[in-house]
């Protein structure tokens, strides 16, 4: 669990109810310290060569595992993002352009997280991704500090993000013996 102390002056102002009412235009909840949690909530397994997966409402992708070739199963993990124990609203966009799986690299647009992936056939088949923007009480939830993992062997890997991070991209080269990398990032909100 990561706790943000919002701007120090806001906390000090909060000590004085009168001053808070006058000075702070933001709702009390967002002026106080904000706690953000990414909590795994759902997983689903599909055959890799015919997979069509989108996380349930208000969840984002935080993990993927695959063992074997394109005929084997792929398991996706989705998570909630909570700000002060209230779900972050996940607004899904359209499917991406298609990429040839054997030479693909996708990153979500700025401040968006991955929520879906579809793939057909083998490494010569196509892969599409789907991203979503995030908001909490009408405020944009930002996705920052993107990092790529090292190489994982596609035919035998299980990658799950840390508790504060969500998936925002994936790259793959070659067939099932080729390497897969994931891009992940922190979620945060502005003070």
């Amino acid at each position: 669990m990561r706790t943000y102390s919002k701007a120090v002056h806001a906390a000090m102002v909060a000590a004085s109810a009168a001053a808070l009412a006058v000075v702070s235009p933001a709702p009390a909840a967002s002026a106080a310290a904000v706690t953000i949690r990414v909590v795994p909530a759902y997983s689903e397994t599909q055959k890799e060569s015919a997979s069509w997966f989108v996380c349930p409402t208000n969840q984002v992708l935080t993990g993927r595992s695959h063992h074997g070739d394109e005929n084997a199963d792929t398991t996706y993990t989705c998570s909630w993002i909570f700000v002060n124990d209230e779900q972050v609203q996940v607004s899904i966009g359209d499917w991406s352009l298609r990429y040839k799986e054997s030479n693909s690299s996708y990153s979500s647009p700025p401040n968006q997280a991955l929520v879906g992936r579809q793939h057909i056939f083998d490494e010569n088949g196509w892969t599409w991704y789907r991203s979503a923007s995030l908001s909490w009480r009408g405020q944009t939830v930002r996705v920052i500090d993107p990092v790529w993992t090292g190489n994982l062997k596609e035919s035998n890997h299980n990658y799950q993000t840390d508790t504060q991070r969500v998936l925002i991209g994936r790259a793959h080269s070659g067939d099932e013996n080729g390497n897969t990398r994931y891009q992940h990032a922190y979620v945060t909100i502005d003070a």
Binding site: A41, T57, N58, V90, S91, I92, G116, R137, G138
Partner: protein, 183 residues
């Protein structure tokens, strides 16, 4: 997609549900406003924007019609926004057991084929003026015979789950939860 569009705009019989509450608490109303009928097999149904499922009836086998009831939710007289994602929860109808994720209501159901076909659901999260509306006290109904039944949410409840076993003569149960809002 073949969608039989017998759609009745039912004026809410619930309009009289104005219960007295302390001034400080939010007044919540779940108001039945729409019903739609589709053939059970090979069809999908999603409540209109801003509405959630509060009832379902079916009489016959997979070739017969299914009618869904949808309601909107009001907090202090202002509509709650229903935020929906994609279809999920793929399961064979003959042994499907679905519950919505935390604080979400069912807003759609689709089903293909007979009892061996697949069933999926669409769910919605609820927000009132940007703040999340919760669903608590989930309870399952008793068993209905799928081939001839009607179920409806109780006071301030919305549908949050459904399970079914067997064919149209098998049993169906529904899960309902109560809408709550802390403010």
């Amino acid at each position: 997609m073949k969608k039989v569009a017998s759609v009745a705009l039912a004026v809410a019989a619930v309009a009289a549900l104005n219960i007295p509450v302390p001034a400080s608490a939010a007044t919540i109303k779940v108001e039945y406003v729409y019903s739609g009928t589709v053939k059970e097999s090979g069809s999908e149904f999603t409540c209109p924007t801003g509405q959630v499922m509060t009832g379902r009836s079916h009489n016959g086998d997979e070739n017969a019609n299914t009618t869904y009831q949808c309601s909107w939710i009001l907090v202090d007289g202002v509509r709650v926004d229903v935020f929906t994602g994609e279809w999920f929860g793929y399961a064979k109808e003959s042994r499907s057991n679905f519950s919505t994720p935390l604080d979400q209501a069912i807003v759609g159901r689709r089903h293909y084929g007979d009892e061996n076909g697949a069933t999926e659901y669409k769910t919605g999260a609820l927000y009132w003026q940007g703040q999340q509306v919760r669903i608590s006290n989930r309870t399952w109904t008793g068993s209905y015979t799928e081939s001839g039944h009607t179920t409806q949410a109780g006071f301030n409840q919305v549908m949050t789950g459904r399970n079914h076993s067997g064919d149209e003569n098998g049993k169906t149960q529904y899960q309902y939860g109560t809408v709550t809002f802390a403010g």
